[in-house]
């Protein structure tokens, strides 16, 4: 357990020292600072636009952070021959991988919380200038942030999985982006092929689409921006299912990652 905790702390410190991430977070804060000015472009929904811009900026930055960290963690350890020396210690590959994942997850959560706090201040300023008919639903904004954090932790597990099977940085990087885009649109495609259009397609194609739908992560469920922006109700049962799905998906993917990582030969 101490070894695991040490790996998590070490990963977290390693991320905190990363200058690329410093630059990304500085740009994110700048983007959030620009929100009040950009929100005034709206004719009728300045407050709503300030929430939209803030959540979009946070989501975009978390995506960048996640993809970079998820794709680069194992690759960097191999490149710098760090892994070779660590694995000589009495530490299993699974514990090492889980430590890396948890460190990355903690950093994603920290980013979400820090950027969310900055966004809260900015949203308050914007809405004070141009009050909306719709009250600010802070609970739903918090929920949307939490869902975003869960989504990007899931994506980090995808990145780690790809980095355990690849020797290159580029494959996990672009594969993670690909899975992110596919996972964001998979629900729409699933509903499309399940409807009238699916009847006109071959049964094999429909089955293939559905298989891919169940295989890749469904990120559409984590998009709670409409409730956060417009105050539309959220179903508590759906939330429970969504977060359970995230936990289970991550757990399964980490199990598979652990298996492939344990069998891998290192130079």
């Amino acid at each position: 357990m101490d070894v695991f905790r040490a790996t998590v702390v070490m990963t977290f410190r390693w991320i905190l020292r990363d200058r690329v991430l410093h630059a990304i977070l500085a740009v994110a804060l700048l983007m959030i600072l620009l929100v009040p000015a950009l929100s005034t472009f709206s004719m009728r929904q300045v407050q709503e636009l300030s929430i939209t811009l803030s959540l979009s900026a946070i989501s975009f930055v978390l995506l960048m952070v996640t993809v970079l960290l998820g794709a680069s963690s194992v690759w960097r350890d191999i490149e710098r021959r760090y892994l070779a020396s660590v694995l000589t210690l009495p530490i299993s590959r699974t514990v090492f991988l889980l430590g890396r994942f948890c460190g990355i997850a903690c950093f994603i959560a920290l980013c979400g919380v820090v950027l969310g706090a900055a966004a809260a201040v900015i949203i308050s300023v914007s809405s004070a200038q141009y009050p909306s008919d719709i009250p600010i639903h802070w609970d739903k904004i918090g929920l949307a942030l939490l869902a975003d954090i869960a989504k990007y932790i899931m994506l980090a597990s995808v990145g780690i999985f790809f980095s355990t099977v690849s020797t290159s940085f580029y494959f996990p990087f672009f594969a993670s982006i690909g899975i992110y885009l596919a996972g964001s649109g998979s629900q729409e495609v699933y509903e499309y092929v399940s409807g009238q259009f699916g009847k006109e397609m071959g049964s094999v194609s429909v089955a293939l689409f559905k298989a891919v739908y169940y295989l890749i992560p469904n990120f559409a469920a984590f998009d709670l921006k409409v409730p956060a922006i417009y105050g539309v109700p959220v179903l508590p049962a759906g939330l429970g299912l969504t977060f359970s799905y995230a936990v289970l998906y991550c757990a399964i993917l980490l199990c598979v990652s652990s298996y492939t990582f344990s069998r891998r030969q290192f130079p």
Binding site: Q45, L49, S56, V189, V226, Y230, V232
Partner: protein, 279 residues
């Protein structure tokens, strides 16, 4: 030495290009091109959770483009606007974010008065009402379009009824009952006003509904007598006093707005107050 010569030559070339370039920038057409926006359904697939941002960007692009069509003194430039493209862009934006109020507001403002695309605009507003279920503005816009542009008072009254029920705003209630009356649906208007009157908390608002209901009740009583007269005599009476004199009506009801009820040239019961009196 050579490097200095190359740099000097490059600076000279730059000076030669930058002058006509600045002239071109100053003289370029005022209206910017709106450009092509992919269909909303396709964009949704790739936009992930940035679709709300993309929707707003599409709306803002149309706004900037529309703004470029007018000179500073408010006159339109001669370039024909890309109206179809503007509408398609708004449709794409609303597919990405069906809650975006800017898109509905702009569509209502730009495509009704100048282009009279009332059916298309109201279809878009109907689409918005499925999502913005709390918002009275959308049925208000649709009701206004139906009444003012299409003269479809029955549809207008139903939209205004929806707006009134959502907001509790007396203005919408007054408009709804007026459109019910114009559509010959006074009985429906009375029922609606009675419901609004009961739910109103403010005494003044309650009074407004009450007066409007009494006016519609007066019109209904006269219209019923008029129908009985028409069935019995197969003609219209010359005035309302004839209805009283011949026993079809006990007395001409009072117009609570202070006017007098009379028959217009088409045989419709109207009031000299136009049901918008001193209240």
């Amino acid at each position: 030495m050579t490097r200095g010569l190359i740099l000097g030559a490059l600076l000279l070339l730059y000076a030669l290009v930058v002058v006509p370039f600045t002239t071109y920038m100053r003289q370029r057409p005022v209206a910017l091109k709106l450009g092509y926006t992919p269909a909303g359904e396709a964009l949704r697939l790739v936009a992930s959770d940035q679709r709300y941002l993309l929707a707003q960007l599409a709306v803002d692009r149309v706004l900037f483009y529309f703004g470029s069509l007018f000179t500073k003194d408010g006159h339109r430039v001669s370039t024909p606007p890309e109206y179809f493209n503007m509408f398609a862009t708004m449709q794409s934006a609303l597919k990405l974010d069906p809650y975006n109020m800017d898109a509905y507001y702009f569509t209502e403002a730009a495509f009704t008065w100048e282009l009279k695309r009332i059916r298309e605009v109201n279809n878009m507003l109907d689409y918005g009402m499925k999502y913005r279920t709390w918002d009275a503005q959308l049925p208000f816009y649709a009701g206004f379009n139906a009444a003012y542009f299409s003269k479809d008072y029955r549809t207008a009254s139903l939209y205004m009824q929806k707006a009134a029920e959502l907001s509790g705003n007396p203005l919408y209630t007054t408009l709804a009952s007026r459109y019910f009356y114009e559509a010959g649906q006074s009985a429906l208007g009375i029922t609606f006003l009675r419901a609004m009157e009961q739910s109103a908390k403010d005494a003044k608002v309650k009074k407004i509904y009450q007066v409007r209901r009494k006016a519609l009740e007066g019109i209904t009583v006269i219209s019923d007598a008029l129908n009985r007269f028409r069935e019995a005599r197969h003609t219209l009476p010359p005035d309302l006093k004839t209805l009283v004199r011949e026993g079809f009506l006990s007395r001409i009801p009072e117009d609570p707005y202070g006017g007098t009820f009379y028959l217009d040239s088409k045989g419709k019961v109207v009031s000299s107050s136009k049901l918008a009196g001193k209240q």
